[in-house]
């Protein structure tokens, strides 16, 4: 392909499938300077806000102190982070000016991420809900020991440990419909 003079060869549309107007209007959104600068400044301010908020122990409403727990701090920090990320995506990454399809992709991705984290956490968070004995940590080896006379004394086995766990759980009125498991009649 030989290179013709610029006036004869439209680099945007070499195959000339767009009309002259389309070829020149469609292409560019030139990034403006000052809006970007202010976005940058807002981002810095929000960073400072995140750092500051993470060290806030709580606040007072009248005489009542509202203490911010770990969850509240995470929510605050994540809200600010989402705002920051949205600013970066909309302005720095031109999503605001771009093909809508790119926003659709971002939306689908966020949907997938939320489903992934949310439903996985739903599993972790509901362990032991149906059956209080489930999902207690296992301590291997038990506490068997030798007595003073050298004989082997059987320690607290898994069953006993699990029963104690269950009893502890069942004293909670939320699980009142099941009674503490009583020792089944022994074979001896």
């Amino acid at each position: 392909m030989t290179h013709g003079p610029a006036s004869l060869y439209d680099t945007v549309d070499p195959h000339e499938t767009l009309s002259k107007d389309e070829a020149h209007s469609a292409h560019l959104h030139v990034t403006p300077y000052w809006p970007m600068f202010w976005v940058f400044m807002i981002l810095l301010a929000l960073t400072a806000l995140t750092v500051w908020s993470s060290n806030v122990h709580g606040f007072w409403i009248g005489n009542t102190e509202i203490v911010l727990g770990g969850t509240a701090h995470i929510l605050i920090a994540m809200t600010i982070a989402v705002i920051k990320a949205a600013l970066v995506a909309m302005y720095f990454m031109h999503l605001k000016y771009d093909q809508p399809m790119n926003t659709v992709i971002v939306g689908a991705t966020i949907f997938a991420v939320i489903m992934f984290i949310g439903l996985t956490l739903a599993d972790s968070a509901t362990r032991g809900v149906m059956d209080p004995m489930e999902h207690k940590q296992v301590v291997h080896g038990g506490d068997a020991h030798r007595a003073a006379d050298g004989t082997f004394v059987k320690g607290k086995g898994q069953v006993d440990a699990a029963r104690e766990n269950a009893k502890a759980k069942e004293t909670n009125p939320g699980h009142g419909e099941t009674k503490p498991a009583e020792a089944a009649p022994s074979g001896h």
Binding site: T17, M101, A108, T109, F111, A112, M115, F116, L119, T120, A122, D123, S124, T126, R127, G128, V129, M130, D131
Partner: protein, 581 residues
């Protein structure tokens, strides 16, 4: 435009060195597709060998390929690696490695790339009237990544094999000391990138390279299916990447996130893994569904019934596939989540059912050409319907507790993957074989092979449903005597299946060596690939094609390059009357 544009894409260059170089450094989507096809068929063969081996082991309740002393026989050693980390190949490890390698090779090396990366690569741009995919270099790069990943996977076989199952569940996979696990996991990790890049390429191609005038609902359904697949590939595969990376970290650096010995959570691994791997089974089946839509429409000479329903159901499957992963974990996760995932799982069955109804409705009042492709489409409908209908019991909570991890799951999975994707793949291969090789295949031997595959497949897997409901767990090298007769039927079927596939191989070789030259449009298709030469020329079309009709307008169009006397049109008055409704 210069003259080389009229040459077949398969044509060799002036010198043999240039010819080789032209393949190694080709940017032509068709050549890349052919290279994918060769590689995936090789993987299919390798995975098939392992399948036959593991069915052979199950011929008897006790050991077949390992001896009584618990050591692999010569056959077992030859097949499952000679590097043993100072340990003996013990009784069942040979079998465990056989099913793991069968699973990993079939899933990661064969089924996932087979339809999209091989057939999709060759035909997606042509069906859109494009000269190439959006990013040809990325396309070639994907192929090399695929080869690179495959080398890791193959290396793991030599390096002692893998015996974790293709699901790599922790803590077994993070604690087992057989040599091949890390390299197999790395291989699957790398193969994931190949899949991602192919998906990105196809999405951009569908969005930006449709021929002018082709709207979304003028696209062939194969393209819709590949598009839906690409969405899943892009959104799901990275999670597999991070999962496998974390598994490698777990093995190398003991990070303790999945390892309970260090305070981690093995169930978390299962969530990570299935978040990818459930969409992955749709990545495997949806392209096959796309092929079936083409096969049925072309061979029935009929406008496909409910085009939009089929197109939207592909997208619906893609979307819902992200919400159902934990139905693989109904015995390992909590009851509350089980209920949620059971309900969500039934959602995905609805679009699937709609597709099957539409395909069968298309056959009504049509003109059916029972060539190998159509036979495969019917075989697909038979097997996939069974596979689909055995899904709901597995989604039903109380039933799945019983059937989970039994042969019922094995049978269901194979009815969907083998009876679905592989049969569709074979049908598509026959359908498009004349187009991309330029050679016809021998129809009757191919039909015979198709029937052998169909009978062999059903013989192998149907009995496994009963094995499963009777309580035979999967991944068992030895079993109790009462299951023996069922395993014997299954193994016999697998040999018939293997013979059918070998017959197909012979038909293809014969076609390549001495097949009659293929016409441009042997089956009378209306989509763009039937307008170009067989095999297509280097940039697909001499001129940019013009879209004048929909992909399935068999009521009003004589297919290109077909004799109108042989392709009489339906009564146009009735067509017009119908279209007024």
């Amino acid at each position: 435009m210069s003259g080389h544009h009229d040459v077949s894409f398969l044509a060799p260059k002036e010198t043999s060195f240039k010819s080789v170089w032209a393949w190694v450094y080709t940017l032509d989507h068709k050549r890349i597709g052919v290279m994918y096809l060769a590689a995936t068929l090789l993987a299919f063969f390798l995975g098939g060998v392992f399948a036959v081996v593991l069915r052979t082991e199950l011929w008897e309740p006790t050991r077949t390929i390992v001896n009584e002393a618990g050591q692999a026989t010569v056959t077992g050693r030859a097949l499952f690696g000679w590097k043993e980390n100072g340990q003996q190949v013990t009784a069942n490890n040979a079998y465990n490695r056989a099913f793991t390698l069968h699973g990993t090779i079939m899933v990661f090396l064969f089924i996932i790339p087979a339809v999209p990366a091989a057939l999709g690569n060759i035909f997606l741009p042509i069906m859109l009237g494009a000269k190439d995919v959006a990013f040809p270099r990325l396309n070639l790069f994907s192929w090399y990544i695929y080869v690179f990943g495959s080398i890791f996977a193959i290396w793991s076989i030599i390096h002692g094999g893998v015996e974790t199952g293709w699901t790599f569940y922790t803590p077994y996979s993070s604690s087992t000391n057989w040599g091949g696990v890390t390299s197999m996991v790395l291989g699957a990790f790398i193969l994931g990138f190949s899949s991602i890049f192919t998906g990105i390429n196809f999405i951009a191609t569908v969005h930006k390279l449709r021929v002018p005038g082709m709207g979304w609902f003028d696209m062939p359904l194969f393209v819709w299916a590949i598009y839906a697949t690409a969405i899943m590939q892009v959104l799901a595969t990275p999670v597999l990447g991070i999962t496998l990376a974390m598994l490698v970290f777990e093995r190398l650096f003991h990070i303790g996130i999945f390892d309970p010995a260090l305070g981690g959570d093995p169930v978390l691994f299962q969530h990570f893994f299935w978040f990818y791997s459930h969409p992955a089974v749709y990545i495997m089946i949806v392209p096959g569904m796309g092929i079936i839509s083409e096969l049925i429409a072309v061979n029935c000479r009929k406008r496909i019934f409910g085009y939009r329903a089929i197109a939207f159901s592909s997208i619906a499957i893609a979307a819902i596939s992200f919400l159902v992963w934990a139905h693989h974990m109904l015995t390992s996760q909590t009851a509350a989540l089980n209920a949620i995932f059971s309900a969500l799982t039934f959602l995905v069955a609805i679009p699937t059912a709609i597709k099957v109804f539409n395909w069968i409705a298309t056959m009504y009042k049509s003109s059916i050409n029972l060539n190998t492709g159509m036979l495969y489409a019917m075989a697909f409908l038979f097997c996939f319907t069974i596979g689909g209908l055995t899904g709901p019991p597995l989604a039903t909570l109380a039933v799945d507790i019983h059937l989970h991890d039994t042969y019922f799951v094995v049978a269901h999975f194979h009815y969907v993957m083998m009876g679905g994707t592989v049969l569709a793949f074979l049908g598509g291969l026959h359908h498009w074989w004349p187009k991309f090789t330029g050679k016809m295949y021998a129809e009757n031997p191919a039909r015979l092979a198709c029937i052998m595959v169909f009978i062999g497949f059903n013989l192998t897997f149907f009995i496994q449903f009963f094995l499963g409901t009777q309580g035979m767990p999967r991944r068992y090298a030895t079993y109790v005597d009462e299951f023996e007769w069922m395993h014997k039927i299954s193994t016999t079927g697998s040999y018939l299946l293997a013979s059918g596939l070998l017959l197909h191989l012979m038909v293809f070789i014969q076609s390549l060596m001495a097949g009659a030259p293929a016409p441009k449009n042997p089956w009378g298709g209306l989509t763009f690939e039937w307008e170009t030469e067989s095999p297509p020329i280097e940039h697909n079309f001499p001129h940019e094609p013009v879209i004048t009709h929909g992909p399935y307008d068999y009521d009003t169009e004589v297919p290109p390059h077909c004799d109108p006397r042989e392709w009489p049109l339906p009564d146009q008055a009735k067509v017009a009357a119908l279209s007024h409704h």
